[in-house]
Every structure is written in C-alpha cells, then in structure tokens.
Symmetry: none
Subunit: 430 residues, 2 copies
C-alpha cells in the first residue's frame, strides 16, 4: 500500500448545533500522525440516515481509509450501523461477539441488558468487530468500495483507547515500515510552552529541522514531543535528546509512552520505595491534593489521612494553629502554613507533608495579598520548607496548578533536587 488517503466522517447533531466542540478529530489526527499519515479531509454531518448513507458512499469512493466517529450509542439518534448496512447493501443482524461483550459489560456492572443496550449488538452482516475495553459499544470495520471503514465510538476515552489498542496497530500492519515515525515524549511540569520555546531558542539555537519539536499543553503537565521521520534525524536524535534534557533540568518528570503518569503517581512510587507516608493540610485547594493522591490505586500504602481546614476556626480546632498567629499574620502566611504542616504531621504520624493556604478568588484579595497569593509548606518532618507565590489564574486553574505545585515540590524533595523550580524563580514573595 502506498501512503493511503485517510478521511474522517464525524456524526452527531450536537456537533452541528455547536453544543459541543469536536476534540475527537484532533485526537484521531494525532494518533495517525504517529503512523506518518495525515487526514486529508473531514466531513461532519447531523444524525440523519439518508444523509449518512450518501456521505459514506461519497467518502468511500475517495478514501482508502475512512474513520467514522460517533453514532454507536444505544439511542434512536445513533445511526451508524444502520447507515453502513444500507450503504453496503447488507442486512443488520445480531452479532454474537458484540452481544457477548454487552452481556459481560452489563453483568460486571450489575445492570440488566435492556432493549436500547441490545441495539448496540445489531450490526451490519459480515463486519469485523473492534473491541472496546472502555465502554459498552463495540466498534466495527467493513470494507466498501475498496475503502477500509472503521466505525468508532464518540466518547473520547473509548475512542482514544480503541484507536491506540486496535485501529492504529491494524493499519500499521499494512503500511511499509519506513513510514513509521519515531516519537519520544517527555513530561514536564512548571514550564509554559512559550517559556520553554524561548529557553530552547536561546540555549539550543541550532536545533535541527529533521527533529520536529512539538508541545502539547495540558493542565498541569506539558508534553514535549520529538518526532523524526528520516534516517539522519533518527541518527542525531540521541545527542539532541540529551541536550534538551539538560535544558529541562528537574522540570522533566519522565519520558513516557502513550499514557501520561500523574505527578501523584510519581510521588507515591517513591514514597512506597522508602516506606514512608505523606499527609496533606489544605485550605485553598480544598481537598484536591488528597484527591489527586487517592485517585491512584495503591495510595493507601503511603497516605493515611488528609485535612481540609477551610476556615480559620478549623485550622485551630483540627491542626492546632494558634489563634494569635492567625490574627497576627493572617491565614495566608508563612507562619500559618508552617503551623498547618506541623499540625497535620502531628495528628497523622506521617513523615512528609504538603500544606497550602492561599486566596483562590474571585473575592478575598487585598492590596497586600491579592487574589492568587499562596503559601506552601512542604517536606520531611525534620526539614520543612516554605514558599510564597503569586499565581494569578482563575479559581479553577489556580487550585489545580497550586495542588500540582505542592506535589511537584515533594517530587523534588524526594529526588534531592538542588535546582530552583521555575515557578519559584518567577514568584513575587519568598
């Protein structure tokens, strides 16, 4: 097969009405990019049977590979299977493999297999089932007008896994090997995209063109991607990789495969290795740090308790922060955050602690302590450190970034880093 023509058909009324913004096609494009393939054309239409049939025929004539996204759900506006059967002129039948999947899926969840669910097993005769490890709707593949048509679910998490586990490997098998690109992904915390780009421009001005540098800003982590598609790029990559790693310093968390690792996971692994425990004392992050830690399976090995002390009164009652200190320095201060950390260590018998107190906004700021001001205390019980930062982000981003700064400070502590994090270099207090 030469480089195939790949097209995309997205279905869904909600995509047409503007009720949701399509992020699936970007995800599809990114996964195909790793195969060295571009999407040449993308068509989006509403949930209408005759329009769908018509479009499938038009696209199948032009494309070698067609990805159809959406319309696999249990409701009456989910029409993909019906449209495919009509376009390819076959019957819709109950697929035993799909039915088995649905039965297992419902059984696992203690739910009954109802009629709308059953609809998801009614698929075009002769199609090949594509497993869905994340949801009830299986995908399926048919070949029509010499075009391989992959029908995929609209739920992003299901789509992402089905692409990575099933569809991309299936297509990769048919491609000549040299089309496959070589991709390396690095996870970075505490550097923005433009800051990092500037650092690279300054410190590595002769970065080679044949190693493509890509950024994907996620909150809280930034993903840096190095892609090569030719032999020369491939040869010089190790050397440039090392240079880039030096520029990133301790902002580099890890090199990753597809699935990013959370900061919490990194810390928990390290804590478990050392057989030590961590506790949290949170005001402005309101339980988010504890929640980030306990999202990870196995957190119980290193985390026994966390304290959400949102009011001043509760900082005193639960963590023994003195009323005098609260009155004299205010809840958002070096003294109070240190006392919170000490109180949490005392009450929980943990070895490490993250304590946070700040002004998430939109109200509560003053000239002296504007919205975005935050104090953190962190570290081992014998060596607590404090820092004051100004993070002028909207409330939800502020909480998320601050919670992850707390985790990152512990990560650096656990690796005995002597470097100063960028979010501290840039801060206004300390």
């Amino acid at each position: 097969m030469l480089k195939p023509n790949v097209q995309l058909l997205l279905t869904g009324n909600e995509l047409m009405t503007g009720d949701i913004v399509d992020s699936n096609s970007a995800m599809i494009a990114q996964q195909f990019k790793e195969l060295g393939l571009d999407i040449s054309r993308k068509v989006t239409i509403a949930d209408n049977l005759s329009a769908l049939v018509n479009e499938i025929n038009l696209l199948a004539k032009q494309a070698d590979i067609l990805i159809i996204n959406g319309g696999l759900g249990p409701t009456i506006d989910d029409l993909t299977a019906h449209a495919l059967a009509k376009a390819t002129q076959v019957e819709l039948i109950e697929h035993s493999e799909a039915l088995a999947h649905l039965t297992t899926w419902c059984k696992k969840r203690g739910a009954k297999l109802n009629a709308p669910n059953l609809k998801q097993a009614i698929l075009p005769q002769g199609c090949t089932i594509i497993a869905n490890s994340q949801g009830s709707a299986v995908g399926f593949k048919v070949t029509h007008l010499a075009c391989d048509i992959y029908c995929t679910p609209g739920v992003p998490r299901e789509l992402k896994t089905m692409l990575a586990e099933q569809i991309v490997p299936d297509i990769a098998k048919k491609l000549p090997k040299k089309l496959i690109t070589d991709v390396t992904r690095l996870q970075v915390f505490g550097l923005g995209e433009s800051t990092l780009q500037k650092m690279i421009n300054e410190q590595l001005p002769d970065w080679p063109e044949n190693i493509e540098l890509g950024f994907r800003a996620g909150m809280p982590l930034l993903e840096v991607k190095l892609t090569t598609t030719c032999q020369e790029g491939h040869n010089s990559k190790p050397q440039w990789y090392t240079k880039l790693v030096n520029v990133l310093g301790d902002h580099l968390i890890a090199e990753i495969d597809h699935q990013p690792l959370s900061l919490a996971k990194h810390i928990l692994v390290k804590l478990a290795d050392n057989n030590v425990k961590i506790t949290t004392a949170e005001s402005c992050t309101g339980g988010m740090i504890a929640s980030l830690l306990t999202k990870e399976a196995g957190a119980s090995a290193c985390f026994e308790a966390g304290f959400v002390t949102y009011s001043n009164n509760m900082k005193t009652t639960l963590l023994d922060v003195s009323k005098e200190s609260l009155e004299q320095h205010g809840a958002v201060s070096k003294e109070v955050v240190l006392a919170m950390a000490q109180g949490a260590l005392e009450k929980s018998s943990a070895d490490f602690v993250i304590a946070v107190s700040g002004i998430a906004g939109p109200d509560g700021g003053s000239t002296e302590k504007p919205v975005g001001t935050v104090w953190l205390a962190w570290g081992h019980k014998n060596n607590l450190k404090m820092v004051g930062l100004l993070i002028p982000l909207p409330r939800s981003h502020f909480q998320k970034y601050v919670a992850n700064i707390g985790l990152d400070l512990i990560r650096r502590e656990l690796m005995s880093s002597t470097q100063t994090a960028h979010y501290i270099i840039e801060c206004k207090f300390s």
Copy 2:
C-alpha cells in the same frame, strides 16, 4: 426562500493535523441557530488549491448557503480568494474597497502597507466585500451555482463580529420569520442515557416527532435537550415538557441555559439560603467531595472542614470510629460510615454531613464485598441515613460517580425528596 441548506467549509493545515481544535464552527452554528437554521454538513480540508476548488464546486452544488472559514490571511498558504476565482472562473483583481480598508487599518496602527498585506485586497472580480471591523482581512461574498458563498476570516474574534454584524443580518433578510427554533435544556443526575431512553419509550410511547429529544452524556450529569422548529411542536411542547419532567422525577436537577451548574453549586446555594454548614468524611473518594465543594467560589460560607480518613487507624484517631466496630464490621460497612459521619459532625460543628467508605479497586475486594461496594451516610445531624451500593466502575469513574452520589443525596435531602433515586433502586445492598 424555504429553509435553506447551509454548509460549511473550513480550511487550514493546522485543523487537519490536530494541532488546534476547531471552535469556529460551533460559533457559526450557534449564530445560525438563532436564525432557525442548522448547518447540515461541514467539510474540513488542508490548504491545497486544487482540493479547495474541487470542494467549493461540490459544496456549491448541494448548498444554498456556504460559509467558507479561513484562508483570508496575508501568507502564501491563504488560498481562499484564489480558489474562489478559479471555481467561479473570474479574474483576481485589486478591489478598491478592500484596499481602502487596508490603508485605513494600517494608518490607524502606524504601520506600512506591505506586500503580504496588499495580497488581502486581491479578490475575485465581481465579489461583494464584507466589512471586517476587527481585522485587516475583509470578507467577501460571491454567488456560484445558485449558492451564496460567504468567505470569512479564521481569527475567532473577527469571525464572530463579522457574522453578527454582517452575515446573519444579510441572511435574515431573506428568511421567513417563523423558522426560529426553540430549545430547552434539562440537567439530570443518576440516570444513564439508555436507561432514560427506555423509560421514555415505556412511559411516553407516543412522544411526538416534532419535539426532537437529544441527550448529551457528561460525567456526572446527563443533559436532555428538547428542540422544536415548527409551530405545532412549539404549541404542544409545554404539555410534553411536563410529562418528561414527571418521568425524570427528582433526577431532574434544573433547567439550564447554556452553562451547566454543578451539583456542588446547587447544594451550596441551598445550604447558604438556610444558613447551615456541611462537612465531609471521606475514605474511598479521598477528598474529592471536599474538592468538588471548594471548587465553587463562596464555598467558605457553608464549608469549614473536611476529613480524609483513608486508613482504619485514622478513622479512629480523627473521627473516633471505634476499633471494635472496624474489626467487627470492616471499614466498608453501615456501622463505620455512620460513625464517620457522627465523628465529622462532632469535630466540625457542621449541620449536614456526607460520609463515604468503599472499595475503589482495582484491589481490596472480596466475595462478600467486591470492588465497587460502597456505603454512604448522609443528612442532617438529627436525621442521618445510610445506604450501601454496588458501583462496578473503573477506579477513577467510581470515585467521581460516588462523590457525586454523595452530593446528590444531600441535594435530595435539602429538597425533602420522598422519591428513591435510581442508583439506589438498582443497588444490591441496603
């Protein structure tokens, strides 16, 4: 003019590679919706002249109105004017009106009119200029194969203003007035898409075709949308709305505008109205309920403290859960979750409480208490209730769903609901 067929052509390499997510088409759809018009089809292609010409011809044959977005900029990959001239077989000429706009634009900004800028005045002969009050590139309109083609800029701010000020009014002039659509959105918790579809099929089998029913599954909330586009649908809608609301029961959280409200926000408003406070005692949700509450601005009025007691030991130390009870009944039990709730109320002096203890997995399950087992205690300090559920979802979904069940139970308590929630009807314990 009858209801016209409106289609959309988006151009840009960055849209195809997945480097940016398209939000312009949602904006276009929303503005057209106010005219009562849907976008029937949307095609996205890269910046390639012959592909563009081909696509314009295909689309103009099908559509009455075609909006082309992107490709009006000053760089060489901006090809819209060139493609339109080719498709309509006219010359590209310098348009005096466009030139005047560019000259004024540059003058106002003290900039010189350079060659790349000048390119933006070179447009198909005979086209009608569409003013751009926000940027240097004017839009333009041509009629081709009986289709009105509007060429618009890719910069969202420029597009938005051009649509609102120029294009929507231009199209509105040609439309009969009664096409305007009527949309109602309902927020629902605790019912899945297929369950609700089944309930509607059973309880409202003669749901009318002219009231379109749409679902948007979000975690944790489901959005149900009723859309009418004709007079009969409009007339009968109030009656069917009432019937649907009856089917939804207390699963209905609220009717909303565009922006959904969180369950936490609903509760906080109600708690503040009654001048009462809430606390949390979390094991398996690990701080997520506290975090959901404190994500909302103004949470401090009703939330002072939360307890994350992840280990048995900490349930005893921090919440006075008796060791005997933990040994006898296990941490995931009616007795322990009740004791957690009582302890949290005692320590925080709050009026309401949510306490949760469960097995989030993937490990820690047994035959008696499999992964997904969870006990909740909730309510006012004088009237605590308990329930045991089996929620067999993957860890991250389990935590999110259970945290929101906790919030929903409080919501029902605050509205004095006497109905049983669906997640309780379906449960295995109680």
